[in-house]
Every structure is written in structure tokens, then in C-alpha cells.
Symmetry: C2
Subunit: 258 residues, 2 copies
């Protein structure tokens, strides 16, 4: 088995929790297989998730232009250390596991703010200065990296299924899976999910489900999101009328699966 480097990003306030155990044992499983794990346990790190002017440093006109000023700070290598250090981990990683409890059908704030502060313009997306090429989706800077979301949640399984009241999980997480992972070039795996997490009876069984997914982290077929720059989308970023004509909904952005 090829040795790889994996960034394990997690967000739970109690290390003596189901999430805490899955984090510890998931990391242990990867390390036992000879991989290197970079560990970003955001609560343990007391991670600051709030984008503020301090991320950009001193401003030219005293007014904070979020995207542009933080990009300048990145390009001039004057980002805060906490952000720069997370960017270095991400660059070293062949894959990212993002593990969290689903709160209000999304990521806990401390985790959302990891993306807000770390995935900045110039680093996670942008334009090639010489060619003008857009660096996103299949041209994104993180092509070759894989991403797996590992989620615990309170709802019962059917409620996050295709016709479930809460919304199908991959669609609920579209902003993360497609709008963040795929947008920056990563290959995105189907999330691992544990519904009815409060009623977990057999921890070993749950863990085996997760470690099984970790074992196929580099071999599974990713979600077949359509590439942006091969003619499937117009220059207004709409699916061309010839593909699935008249159809709507987030699933139109997958190529059909076999």
C-alpha cells in the first residue's frame, strides 16, 4: 500500500464523545496502515473561525475589502500564522477527511470558519496571472487531492435519503462537496454518514463502517460532478440546453452514474 499523507479535520467540543472516539480510532487506523496523518482538531486548537481585518493586516485605505485584501496578504506572505499553518498542512495532504456532527444541517461554525479563513483567493481558487486561466473545478489548485466528509447526525436514515424530509445528505452538503471540495479541484467521495447517532449501540460496527471507507480513500470512484470547462456549461455557467433539457435540481450536475 502506498504511504500517503492525510489531513484529518474535525470539530467536536468533547473529546469523550462518539465523534471524539471516531476521530481517535480513524486516525489510528490510517497510521497503522503506514500513512501520515496531519491532525487539525479544531476545538483542541481553539481555532478562530471568524474572518476579520486582522487576517489581512494593515489596509491601504483603512477599509476591509475581504476577498482582495486577504488575497494580497496571502500573496505577500503576511497571513496570520494559524491560517498559514493550515494551508501548509492542506498542501502536504493527498486527502482530507472532514469529520463533524451535523448541526442545523450544516457544519459547526468552528469548521465553516476553517474554510472561510484558510480557503482564500489566490490559494484555493483564482486566476493564473500569466494565462488568465480560471483556477477552479477541474482546473482548481487542489486537483489530485481527495476529500471525504464523515458526518454524524440525529435524524433517522430515511430522513436524509432521496425522499427524506430533511433533504438528501449529498444535496444538503452541496455547498461543501461541490461548492468547496470540487470547486477547488478535489475529487469528492460520497460522504460517510451515521444517522440516528444518539442511538448508536454497536460502536465497533460503526467504526468498521468508517475504517472501511478509509481503506478505499484512494481507490473509490469519486462523485462524477461535471467538469466546468469542457463544454457542458455555458459562459454564463449554466448547464447547456442539450444536456438533460428542462431538468433542474442539484443532481443535474453529476454525470449519470453506471
Amino acid at each position: 500500500m502506498t504511504q500517503r499523507t492525510i489531513l484529518w479535520l474535525s470539530a467536536h467540543p468533547e473529546h469523550r464523545s462518539l465523534n471524539g472516539s471516531l476521530r481517535r480510532d480513524g486516525i489510528g487506523h490510517l497510521e497503522s496502515a503506514g500513512h501520515t496523518v496531519l491532525d487539525s482538531d479544531l476545538y483542541a486548537m481553539d481555532w478562530n473561525p471568524v474572518v476579520r481585518q486582522a487576517d489581512a493586516g494593515t489596509l491601504e485605505d483603512g477599509r476591509f475589502h475581504v476577498t482582495a485584501d486577504v488575497r494580497d496578504a496571502y500573496l505577500q506572505e503576511r497571513l496570520p500564522n494559524d491560517v498559514a499553518s493550515e494551508q501548509e498542512k492542506l498542501l502536504r495532504a493527498d486527502a482530507v477527511v472532514v469529520q463533524f456532527p451535523l448541526w442545523w444541517y450544516g457544519m459547526p461554525a468552528i469548521l465553516k470558519g476553517w474554510f472561510d479563513r484558510v480557503f482564500i483567493s489566490g490559494f484555493a481558487f483564482g486566476k493564473d496571472a500569466s494565462t488568465g486561466q480560471r483556477l477552479r473545478y477541474e482546473q482548481g489548485p487542489f486537483t489530485g487531492k481527495r476529500a471525504l466528509a464523515a458526518v454524524t447526525l440525529g435524524d433517522r436514515p430515511a430522513s436524509i435519503g432521496p425522499r427524506g424530509k430533511s433533504g438528501e445528505l449529498n444535496e444538503l452538503l452541496f455547498g461543501l462537496l461541490h461548492g468547496t471540495f470540487a470547486y477547488t479541484g478535489m475529487s469528492v467521495l460520497d460522504p460517510w454518514a451515521l444517522p440516528s447517532a444518539d442511538f448508536t449501540e454497536d460502536y465497533d460496527d460503526v467504526l468498521a463502517g468508517l475504517t472501511g471507507r478509509l481503506e478505499s480513500l484512494f481507490t473509490e470512484a469519486p462523485i462524477p460532478y461535471r467538469p466546468q470547462f469542457t463544454g457542458q456549461y455555458t459562459d454564463q455557467w449554466e448547464l447547456v440546453p442539450e444536456i438533460l433539457p428542462e431538468e433542474t435540481g442539484l443532481s443535474i450536475h453529476h454525470e449519470s452514474t453506471p
Copy 2:
């Protein structure tokens, strides 16, 4: 015009920004019409968005059970003041306007963490202690309140349209609109959105769009999400097979619109 109370929740780090101007002028518009506005400008308040053990206070067994321990703190009236104060504002409000720039296709972390910390079990959802009735969706505690998301974003308009590469906006925001607003009982309006926000040329025109929506805050027809407890969903929280048989996707959770 009936005088109402509106909670204006906003999240932008620079008050001299487009978002800052829309916040100021939107609030001014409501006040000129005689309404009372409760203002939660999260950056100005230096709001802490991170759920931590401190929200629950001292723990019985030293281990933080997030949902249950914070619910206990709520029921025993020992929540931190910042959380209790936001809950009071929400209870006073007839409507909530939630205004933010779309970052990584979701809310800025400081705003996500407002819901994580304020919308806790017992307050925003739960079970009626005497009847056992589930307090959510049409039985939720916030029925009678209206919710409007007001979003600025970088993508061009078509990209968040029905066939847009980024995903249709109401589907991208399903976790907020349906999983948070509707879940807690609110009537949810179609979001107001400003795409291509970085290329805004005519501020007055943009503002007029927003104030137009504010004027119909209490009269617009809300998004017709299906109620949960009237037979449209199974007890496993799936849409019953007789409704839109075989269909999937987030849009199945709307009643068809005229």
C-alpha cells in the same frame, strides 16, 4: 400599516461595505415605516459563534453532551447572557431578516454559530413535556414569525439559477431555509439575492430591490414547504409514495406552486 418588530441579523466584517450600507439603509427603511428593529450586527457585537462547554455551565459527569446539557442550561435559565439575550430578541420579533455575504456557498461562520448557540433544544425545537408532541415544522415554537434571507454573492445570476453550475440558491440554502427556519416553525420567504455583487453599479437600484421585499415582508406568500404532520410524510420522515412517486431532489418538499 401595522407596526411590527423585526430582528435584523447580519454578518459582515466591514461596515463601510455594500453589506454594511444595505444593513443601515434596510434598517432605516423599516424604522421609517414605523417598525421596531432589533439589531444583531454580529461583527460589531464580537459575537462568539463557537458552541463550547461554557454554554452548559458545570456538567454533572464532567463530560459535555452537547444537545442535552445545553437544553438543561436553557430550561434552568443558566445560559450565558449573550445567548439568552439573542433568544429574547428572537421571541420579541415578528420577522427575522438574515443578511450575509455568501462565503463558500454558505453563511459566514460567525452567523452559522448564531444558530448553533441560540437555536438550542427546548427553545427552538423539542417535545412538549405533557403531550409528547414534536415541536418542529408546523408545530415548531416559532410559528407566526417570518424569515427572509438577504444574500450578496460573487457568482453571476445564471450560476445560481435553476440550471446554474453553483446550484440553485434556494437549494444551496436548504439547510437554512427549510432545515432551520421552517424546522422551527417560521414562514420562509424566497431569499433576496444580489449576484455579481462585486460589480454593483447602481446602489440605489439594488437598495430599491431590497426595500421592496421589506415592504412585503408580512404579505408575501411564503415558500410552500410541505407540513410534516398532515400525512405527507411517513413515520420514517419520507415523502409518502403516493406524492410525486419516484421523484427525488429537494424540490419535492414544496407543494406545487400555482
